[in-house]
Symmetry: C2
Subunit: 371 residues, 2 copies
Amino acid sequence: MTLTKIEPQNLRTPGPTPIPEDIVDEMSLPMINHRGPEFKELIEATTNGLKQVFMTTNDLYILTSSGTGALEAAVVNTLSPGDKVIAATAGSFGDRFVQIAEGYGADVIRMDFEWGDAIDPEAIRAELHKDPEIKAVLVTHNETSTGVTHDLESIARIVKGEFNKLLLVDAVSSLGCIPLPVDGWNCDLVATGSQKGFMIPPGLAFISISARGWEAYEDAKIPRFYFDLMAAERSLSRGQTPWTPNVALLYGLRLGLDHILGEGLENVYERHAEVAAYCRAGVKALGLELLANDESRASNTVTGIKMPADIDGGRFMSMMREDEGVVLAGGQGKLTGHCFRIGHLGWVTKDDITEVMEALERVLPKVGFKG
Amino acid sequence: MTLTKIEPQNLRTPGPTPIPEDIVDEMSLPMINHRGPEFKELIEATTNGLKQVFMTTNDLYILTSSGTGALEAAVVNTLSPGDKVIAATAGSFGDRFVQIAEGYGADVIRMDFEWGDAIDPEAIRAELHKDPEIKAVLVTHNETSTGVTHDLESIARIVKGEFNKLLLVDAVSSLGCIPLPVDGWNCDLVATGSQKGFMIPPGLAFISISARGWEAYEDAKIPRFYFDLMAAERSLSRGQTPWTPNVALLYGLRLGLDHILGEGLENVYERHAEVAAYCRAGVKALGLELLANDESRASNTVTGIKMPADIDGGRFMSMMREDEGVVLAGGQGKLTGHCFRIGHLGWVTKDDITEVMEALERVLPKVGFKG
């Protein structure tokens, strides 16, 4: 079967992200026995490296799945049908966490915030005050669909410090790019994916679980098998995974972690912050409007931009891709057709964003944008 | 982090399997937007190619998970807690299918056969006769832990032809290597993994579902999210997957399918049969004993061999790996320490097995095997 040749492009989706050449090469290493000594070294080294990036001494597991699989793991390993939980959402990924919890029978108190807004920590405090039976709070750190980073630090202080509830965090598009000190903020379950900050393809997910999370596991009655973290723990203690893992991505992950820790976490965060500020400034200079209602909460991994009302969004996205080689992400959920997004996470520099801005400058007038 | 260099080796585990050089290269293509037009071509082409290898016109989905994820998908998409099902097992992977069904609350009638034996289709017929309330039969096509291929054709004739029950098949280590005409045998759900016959790394799973399977879906009450096949269906109709997929492995899969379909399914089966017969003959010539009690049911993808009682199995496996560069698989479950296995599936020729035999000839005497 012959498909259209895949050309190099400026891939600006908020995952998958471009992969550095040396990581591509590393993933070409020969396959190995996933029950053998080389694999034991590999899984132990990557798990330990991930703990450094998560800034945690909690247990941490590598799952062969998309990031969504790790979100499911957070829910099914800690909750029982009927458990009362708060899930705060201000976008597609907040909604997904709600759907997972509801799908597995939790009694979800859904707290909706405007898409483009940040979740209000005070509202969560008020809800927790109202109902002492709430067992857990589910929250997205960085809402990829709008480009807003929620104030997880304040939320965690309330959920953990004031109420001592279980805190489940979707960190898929934040971890390794935006500060998230898992132990510092006392987050119980934190889930992320490989195709974001880690500079490798999609296909692995990572999840950390605190001692308090393990306590919840003991009582949790939602059935689970593939995503059972105790199965992962038993296998990891022998240097293995319970099911055949994605060995090639683990090769890449090892090197990706080397790059992140070599650059230094603080420097990685700073680079993301600089590139993102540069992107927002460029977007505004073009006369475009951010989706984030409060720019101080705009995301350092993805910039969400309102689709100008006077242009054909589909034609604009196609021209950016076909004429300029710049691949933007469209809107999700109720934002479909109403926004576009520029990803700037993982292996990214200001130069990548300069290219995007130059392309926007050429394409926008052609599709009738008045600015 | 510096790990031991991974050297080329004769990897004879029954998955992961060696990857041909051109597939390794193909997996190095640049990342793309998984919601874009290149991805649509890719997922449609690979899904269609897989249907040819499955010999089915049923719906088929590519999941980002290990093969075990697809087994879980088969169960959670078709059953409800309390459903009475038969699960026949004669090894570790048969046991795993039992555990999944039990874990999700099915009322499992477990039929145990001796490890090394094939499942007796007549016993399944007798059980189905006894209890008309049985909804489904779960069966492993090729038991990787013992190297026995069960008589799925006869089992399917009974389960489908005589009793018209739902048939769930674990085809993880058979599909694409051993004939399994999914439509010809009328199998409802058939699950397999990428790291076996398809010559790519682990990390993707494939599952087909019949119209009858979709009917069962309508009534199935086990909760599901990540492995929900209706979510996969809705996304595939737009050329997408519900969750971010493993793009790199899909590149490799496209080429792997080209190789399989280019060689011709019948030729692929014949090659596996020849290599396996050659392996069994070699093993017996060395004075070793097969795990399969009936050689006519010995697997064409993996040969299970009893660990000779007079040797130190651990030392033997290490010497094969370290001195000879031949990586064998050990025993699983209750066979741990009591057997070793030679994988011969996917990208394999007689030459690979000749190397194994020559290495066995050198190593066995050194560990005190009298033959």
